[in-house]
């Protein structure tokens, strides 16, 4: 008989251990070998917890399977599973991801009483008038005047930003934070971008160019625009 190839490769990294699991054998075999390997590998008594990253390769595990895997590992020594990485996601996850990664363009004036509510980033070519409202799970970019309400990161994305050619909003919301226009009459500002500052947990406004530096993810907007 040929000695079976190792199904689990253990590597030490700066952050802890990485377990690379073979993605050709069965899940059961993995669990078995994991149990065996981790028990035999009785290290010195060291009180520090070791972070483990599991790499599944081209294997998809359900949440229950992942939990079982974590349990096996947690029972052994001082190991805690930090993350489980897989090259695969389900179709649903992919669709969901795509929806949120998409840029949705609209060419219209959002008038009093009207609402645009989308998943992903919103690119509005037109104004948001007083009494109008735009909402997106991602960022909001308005090529026009924002005089109504804009709510970015509706599902809790605190990194989302709101930008407009002309900003004179009645209210800005990012994730759960709200900022209201002052009661006195103010002049609007041109080409500004609102973002949620983590330190003061407040919505702040800065020049768009400066916010892009704070939100490097925004550069992926370009790519998504081209793909979309």
């Amino acid at each position: 008989m040929i000695a079976s190839k190792q199904k689990i490769a253990i590597k030490g990294t700066r952050h802890g251990l990485t377990l690379q699991l073979d993605d050709q054998c069965s899940y059961k075999e993995i669990l078995g070998e994991l149990d065996e390997k981790l028990s035999s590998n009785n290290q010195a008594e060291d009180d520090q917890l070791i972070n483990v990253t599991i790499q599944l390769g081209n294997r998809y595990l359900t949440q229950e399977q992942k939990d079982a895997l974590k349990k096996v590992i947690r029972e052994k020594q001082h190991l805690v599973v930090d993350s489980i990485e897989s090259n695969l996601i389900t179709k649903e996850e992919a669709k969901e991801w795509k929806k949120h990664a998409e840029v949705k363009p609209f060419v219209k004036v959002v008038r009093s009483g009207q609402v645009i509510n989308i998943e992903g980033d919103l690119l509005l070519i037109g104004d948001v008038n007083p009494g109008g409202k735009v909402m997106a799970t991602g960022n909001i970019f308005i090529m026009g005047s924002l005089r109504g309400i804009a709510h970015a990161g509706v599902d809790g994305d605190e990194k989302a930003v709101i930008s407009a050619s002309f900003m004179k909003p009645s209210q800005l919301r990012i994730s759960d934070s709200i900022s209201q226009a002052p009661d006195y009459e103010t002049d609007g500002v041109y080409m500004e971008c609102a973002y949620l500052d983590e330190k003061v947990s407040k919505i702040l406004m800065e020049r768009l160019q400066d916010v892009i530096k704070k939100r490097p993810d925004l550069s992926s907007f370009e790519r998504r625009m081209l793909n979309g």
Binding site: R111, S112, G113, R147
Partner: protein, 265 residues
């Protein structure tokens, strides 16, 4: 085949009825066959402004319920044969009217008239839906005042969902001295915000009130400010390009400019 234009505003009291009466009168003055319809059931006004109140025998609801023929419901104007009014009912139940029935009535009138001008009730409820149903075009009236502009914006949003051309804007009751002192929103800002074409600007003019009190629309006067504004609006509806504002607002300035360029006036 005529064209039906609905006059709306969202907010009440901004001048829909006044605008309907005066656009109708000015169009008739220019030789068009015009029919005015008052759809403000229960709060009819158009007949009063036109000075035709005493002549009402039948009304829109009588027509809707087929109690009379459409032609029997029309009241001819005192001054122009080519101008007629279909008055609103004052007492009947307004649920009698439906968008479908309204459409049929307007279609029938379009056979005989060049222009059907429909006076819409305030609000965005059933009355608005009825008034808008048969119209090919819409005119939105606003005052240079935030709340009125906000309602105009709402109405424009609703009109954009209808199967008709983008609405046009009339700014009514403009007081230029208030714009200068910064106490009133100026026309440019309004047009900018609402982003629709401007059909005309009508000054706040007490002649308008005097005129509607005696049932003679101001557009009949030869040279009051408001009269000129309404006549220009009528000409723009007919497709003429009449320069905006200059005549209605800045007569003094225009005269000076002409002298400057050496054009004899």
């Amino acid at each position: 085949m005529g064209e039906a234009i609905v006059v709306t505003s969202g907010k009440g009291g901004v001048g829909k009825t006044t605008t309907t009466a005066n656009i109708g009168t000015a169009l008739a003055l220019l030789g068009n066959k015009v029919c005015l319809i008052d759809t403000d059931i229960g709060l009819r006004n158009l007949d009063v402004v036109m000075g035709l109140e005493n002549r009402i025998i039948f009304d829109l609801v009588d027509v809707v319920q087929n109690r009379i023929k459409l032609k029997q419901g029309l009241i001819p104007d005192k001054r122009f044969d080519c101008l007629q009014l279909l008055p609103a009912a004052q007492t009947s139940d307004k649920s009698e009217l439906s968008p479908k029935r309204m459409k049929e009535i307007v279609e029938e009138l379009k056979q005989d008239f060049d222009y059907i001008i429909i006076d819409c009730p305030a609000g965005i409820e059933q009355g608005f839906k009825n008034a808008v149903a048969g119209a090919d075009k819409a005119v939105v009236v606003t005052n240079p005042e935030k709340s009125s502009i906000r309602d105009a914006d709402r109405i424009i949003g609703l009109l954009e969902q209808e199967d008709m051309e983008p609405p046009k804007l009339i700014v009514n009751r403009m007081k230029n001295h208030m714009v200068k002192t910064g106490d009133m929103v100026d026309v440019d800002d309004i047009v900018n915000l609402l982003s629709i074409d401007l059909l005309g600007v009508v000054a706040d003019d007490e002649e308008v009130i005097k005129a509607s009190n005696i049932g003679e629309p101001v557009a009949l006067q030869p040279n009051s400010k408001a009269s000129l504004a309404y006549r220009n609006i009528a000409r723009r509806i007919l497709g003429e390009s009449v320069p905006l504002l200059s005549l209605e607002e800045e007569q003094g300035l225009l005269a000076k400019m002409k002298r400057f360029f050496g054009i004899r006036t």
